[in-house]
């Protein structure tokens, strides 16, 4: 913990050349990774990230300087390095810390109190189950990753916020190989909680699920290069379509500078009326949850789209200087090495009223995306792409066969308007989201949804 006196000095020094806002973000984070390959632990490592970043704003101009270490001398030098970017004289004083915010979250079992043996025992169960699933499983890579991040954010407007953010995740990659052909299956659940979360994990089922996906895809024909067809996307990680195709383009990072296809559309219909989309950083224990964002603003539930109408963007403090918008508790950064900006937390399509089976029965011929992989987007144009890790070709409303190598592409604004079914049961799955302020943990989620048409890429012929 940094002394208050030092923080006051740092914030004051940062304003010495005319800045109108200064902020200190200090971090002490411990991480552990254990990697098991072919049933044997191959790598085990520990990392301690320890440093601080000073940000100075003058209007919308952002100056950022960081240093590893947190001693007074290094922090003062960093504040002076930031201030050196401006050439004016001091015009603003720091305010007393009157907004004290303590996210006194304490995990039941902190990762620091857990030995490697416990981490290893967990992933060994999944690894063995994956290997035992089929003779065609030739390799299993299992990882245990945990992070315990402690942050303090203080700014010249009087905010002092502390948060602790433990998170843990296991990742199982199974490889199936036969006759010079290979496919992989991947499952990686995790939550923003301590080690206690793993009590609830069925590691054997997780290993088997990764293996099943690899073996299923090994025997699957190539997905047709089908062009635009109806697609049903299953719940959970399927919500990556909302994350990429839409919400990146709602981040102030894009919106405040006019670089988004959703600029100027608040209050307008941007999606089909069955669509309600939410970003909620307050959900207890979820992978993307934070009690305070990285500017010290309390996290909140943000309804982004309500019954098809655009209601809110995601905003950080700096970007409110470019464009008027309330703060949404969305300012995030990977570590002290990044200036914060608007990012997602837990982002999902809210549950609807449609029947999961009916969606497929009445879809005609198209694709059922049972498990989505990652994707990316160009927020300016809304052009997105996703890989489908586990997909099934649907003929006349019936699942015909699994298909490999399916990709979905399109433009965000189009796809939102083409959602015609939203199921009743919503769940979420974790991912790491990469953008300007680094890689941050975010959940994506949705119930099963149907899109009337979307371009499906693959490299097979018609089935």
């Amino acid at each position: 913990m940094i002394e208050r006196r030092i923080v006051e000095n740092v914030l004051g020094a940062a304003l010495a050349t005319g800045g109108d806002y200064s902020e200190l973000f200090a971090e002490d984070t411990e991480k552990n990774v254990v990697v098991m390959v072919d049933g044997k632990v191959e790598d085990a490592s520990y990392r301690r990230v320890f440093g601080a970043g000073v940000r100075v704003l003058l209007g919308a101009r952002c100056i950022y300087a960081y240093t590893s270490g947190q001693d007074e001398k290094a922090l003062m030098e960093t504040a002076k390095a930031a201030a050196a970017a401006l050439k004016g004289v001091k015009e603003h004083e720091t305010r007393a810390f009157n907004a004290l915010r303590k996210g006194d979250y304490a995990p039941e079992t902190p990762y620091g109190a857990v030995g490697n043996a416990e981490r290893i025992a967990l992933i060994r169960r999944a690894s063995q189950a994956a290997k035992a699933y089929s003779d065609e499983i030739t390799q299993v890579v299992a990882r245990f990753m945990d992070v315990d991040q402690r942050v303090t954010v203080a700014n010249s407007l009087g905010v002092w916020a502390e948060d602790r953010r433990p998170r843990g995740r296991v990742a199982i990659q199974a490889v199936a190989m036969k006759d010079g052909d290979a496919q992989t299956g991947y499952k990686a659940p995790g939550r923003g909680e301590g080690f206690e979360q793993f009590r609830h994990y069925d590691m054997e089922a997780l290993g088997a699920a990764a293996a099943k996906q690899a073996v299923t895809m090994l025997h699957a024909p190539q997905c047709p290069a089908a062009g635009a067809v109806p697609v049903v996307i299953d719940g959970g990680f399927g919500g990556v379509i909302l994350h990429e195709a839409c919400v990146h383009s709602l981040e102030a990072t894009s919106v405040a500078k006019g670089n988004s296809e959703f600029c100027g559309k608040l209050g307008q219909v941007v999606a089909s009326p069955v669509v309600t989309a939410v970003d909620d950083g307050t959900l207890p224990g979820e992978w993307g949850s934070i009690r305070f964002d990285d500017e010290g603003t309390p996290s909140q539930r943000n309804v982004l789209i309500e019954n098809g109408v655009l209601k809110s963007y995601l905003f950080d403090y700096r970007d409110t200087r470019l464009m008027e918008h309330p703060l949404t508790g969305s300012s995030r950064r990977e570590s002290y090495e990044f200036a914060p900006t608007s990012r997602m937390t837990n982002t999902f399509f809210a549950p609807g009223t449609d029947d999961d089976e009916e969606m497929i029965r009445t879809m005609g011929t198209g694709l059922y995306a049972a498990s989505m992989g990652g994707g990316s987007v160009n927020p300016l144009t809304g052009e997105f792409n996703f890989a489908v890790d586990e997909a099934y070709w649907v003929k006349d409303g019936r699942i015909f066969c699994p298909v490999r190598g399916a990709t979905l592409i399109g433009k965000g604004a189009d796809v939102l308007k083409k959602i015609d079914r939203v199921g009743k049961h919503m769940w979420m799955a974790p991912g790491m989201c990469g953008s300007l302020s680094g890689s941050v943990p975010t959940n994506v989620g949705q119930p099963r949804v149907r899109v009337t048409d979307i371009v499906v890429g693959g490299k097979g012929g018609m089935l």
Binding site: R47, A85, V175, T381
Partner: protein, 444 residues
Amino acid sequence: MDFIGFKKALFKEALAQGCEAAEAYYQRNESFSVNVLEGDIDQYEVNAKGGLNLRVRLGGRNGYAFTQKLEEPEKLVARAMDNARSIEAEDDHPMQGKCEYPALEKPERRAYSLGEQEKIDLALSLERAAKAVDPRVARTEFCTVESGRREIRISNTLGLDAFDEERTAVSVVMPITKEGEDMRNAYAFRIGEGIFDVDRCAREAVADSLALHGASPVGAGTYRALIRNSAMAAMLEAFSPMFSGDNAQKGLTLFKDKLGERIADEKITIVDDPFHPDYARAFDAEGVPSVTTTVVENGVLRSFLHNLKTAGKAGVPSTSNGGRAGADASVSVMPSVFYIRPGQKSDDALMRELGNGLFITEMDGMHAGLDPVSGEFSLIAKGMLVENGKPVRPVDQITVGGSFTKLLGGVLAVGGSLYFNPPRGGGAIGSPAILVDGLVVSGR
């Protein structure tokens, strides 16, 4: 505590606790970057960081512990030893001992000695240049000049003491162009002395963005395709794990049993060259002296990339591809300067040889739509429809699918212009343009 004092304390403690050896990998980075927007500074960053990664060898196994807080050496040693004790794999991972390094010429470059204001001015001139190219340039999405200095020191109790200093300078611009409601963007970058090449860098980015206006998909089918050098370099980068000796030994690449066999057309030669003048380094992340490796020679797989561990297991010398994804990462296998050797053909000649087909200028979604284990890919792509050797219209919203092994096997021609992607972590991956047949396209 300073690095030297901390390192000494670590080594003393590690040996006292029964470690056979200990190694400190210390990295210190200083960087500056400025992004400009509408003639003014938008974001300005100045940074310094250091960190030490301790590796101990205990019972023949390695354990790691990294910190940015150079205090309490006993605790760090205990962490690393605990990690070493957790290792179950029997593979020996030796450390590099005392050795000599080739002397590298690192010429002093003007780009590395610019003052802050000069860098700001350079960024401003790049933005002005981009806006001046064409009235359809609305603004820049980013326009950044960055410089950096990285110090690496690797010392161990076997006598290794390696030191390297690397300087970088990068400029990058992404203009947004507008035709009616149709907005497009594209980027171009320069490194080293190239950052003074302001006008051409700006024109390149603007031309790429403008070329996309009015783009539409093509019909599904199998196409002949010319893949632009930058797009091919991105694909090679994503598939580079297929050439890792570590992945070969773990059965995580389809090339695992293919040493000495033909895996590509004979026009394809792939080399790993840590002496490449733009990114020359004397040693890898384990302190192994640099060597150049021919990975694929005229289509035949000659070597995997190795670090000391995988080389030992394979019974060959290390190819000096010990890598660390960051100062805080464990030793892995990573390419240095890894590229497909260019041929002789000009862009025009390749276009004529393409005749009718697609000129693919960009492929995206590499981190998800591409599997380095199976070699399969299905990616969103952009480019031009080409008829009779002439581009006729821009194309977007298509996917291209195939397998990397088939793609390499069916190369019809290799271009003469080698392009390197923006460098990451001290290395770079490059390719010339290649002409292929049989790319499966989905679109309209």
